[in-house]
């Protein structure tokens, strides 16, 4: 359609969501100004903006964000480091797969939140119980995804590897691992999203910092403006994490898994 003015895709990507955001903001503002919400149930956009300003000025919002990201970084990274090697073995070794798969599925189906009582009893308060919850939230997902991907690597690669003289762990790390990386990156993208959701829940119980704690603390003080401020921050960081992980798909040696 050469006659019509078309908006470039790159502009659309920012423009369209911004328009939706502004629309929602306008409706929210209008409804609030018209007195449609019972007093104290929904804060006005202005209150939320003021809450943002004071939280940023005091540095608390930044501190809480860093606290949450710190826990996610630890829980997620340690879980991935443990889960990928185990997933490779489970995926490639039939007996191990038969023995462990039902149990991995069992634990994966348990909400990480269900571990909170144990987390507190085993690790006390502070960062360790929250990191433990995040470890659980990531570990079983990633083991399962790695194992499923490793089990479906085309057999021809192993034939070729055999002729090239690769043996034992060299096969695992030079054939199986690169062959599953695109699927693994997708699994990590899902897992980081889950971990970020779970950190907020974990912080509502066992710690006195972080974005989850900020929300619980604000609710206790009936500061709904602060609750919304926390929610917006959590959602925004969730988007940023997702974008960062989706960028991994651009690594040249992974492109083959996404271009087909």
């Amino acid at each position: 359609m050469p006659d019509r003015v078309s908006i470039p895709a790159s502009v659309q990507r920012f423009l369209f969501p911004s328009l939706v955001g502004l629309g929602v903001l306008a409706i929210w503002w209008g409804a609030h100004a018209a007195g449609m919400f019972p007093i104290g149930t929904v804060p006005s956009p202005v209150d939320v903006a003021l809450a943002f300003k004071s939280e940023l000025a005091s540095g608390r919002l930044l501190d809480d964000t860093i606290a949450s990201l710190y826990r996610v970084a630890w829980g997620f990274t340690t879980a991935v480091l443990a889960a990928v090697p185990l997933g490779l073995v489970v995926g490639r070794h039939a007996a191990t797969r038969a023995a462990l798969m039902p149990w991995i599925n069992f634990f994966r189906s348990l909400s990480p939140i269900a571990w909170i009582p144990f987390a507190i009893i085993w690790f006390g308060i502070g960062d360790p119980p929250a990191i433990f919850i995040l470890f659980i939230a990531t570990f079983f997902q990633v083991v399962l995804a790695t194992a499923a991907a490793a089990a479906s690597v085309p057999r021809v690669y192993y034939r070729v590897a055999e002729e090239l003289g690769l043996r034992g762990h060299h096969v695992l790390f030079q054939i199986t691992l690169p062959a599953i990386l695109p699927q693994l990156v997708t699994a990590l993208r899902v897992a980081i999203g889950v971990a970020w959701m779970v950190v907020v829940a974990a912080e509502m119980i066992a710690v006195r910092s972080g974005l989850g704690f900020l929300i619980v603390d604000a609710r206790n003080g009936l500061r709904m403006d602060l609750v919304v401020c926390g929610m917006i921050t959590i959602g925004g960081i969730g988007i940023v994490l997702d974008i960062l992980f989706s960028r991994l798909a651009r690594i040249p040696s992974l492109r083959w898994g996404f271009d087909q």
Binding site: V160, G165, S253, W256, Q260
Partner: protein
Amino acid sequence: MSGSVLELKGVGFDYGPLSVIDSLDLTVAKNELVVCVGPSGCGKSTLLSLLGGHLAPMRGTIDRRGQSRTIYQAGGLFPWLTVRQNIARGLPEQLAGHARTTKVGEWLEIMRLADFGDHYPHQLSGGMRQRVEIARALAAETDILLMDEPFSALDYQSRNRMRRELVATLVERPRAVVFVTHDIEEAVQIADRVVVLGTRPANVRRVLELPPGRSRSPATPGVAEAEQAIMDELGMS
């Protein structure tokens, strides 16, 4: 036979109760191009697995002198490596740093892939991918090359061109080739010898010697007759 690189005597292989290969005798001489044709499901791929040492025969003996490399129908390249890296993978291990780079460069030239060294396999056409596969397998400098319907995924023109290129490359760097195909025309065009396999369990039904000179056209004397003889043997005429 003194000059043989592969010698099979009374080889048999079963999958459970199903006998796929039985009492198969086959000798492949040094630098000979043997093409095996047979109906689909006759155990051609099993035969290649036996020849490559991926499977052990249940009966009989396989005497293999030297190492082998296999070229597969499609998708044998590592998609996470560039063309250059894939070919380098094939090189003998003892070849050191600089010599490796030079060798890979040579193979890229031979296979007319010089501009595509840093491309990944998924960015290439089917014919180019198959050339990379051939380069990787030949780069190993092994004595035996096994080819499992290597051109069957290509279109007609690429297939014809690849046959000619394979024959030309083998003139420069000769080695024994066992080429498996269901394409009779392909068999009679490039083979020194065509081995016709029977239906399951596969054994040698007939061996045809082709006139010297690979890369024959359908008009080359003896080609049409050979083609007819194979079709007769397979009950296709």
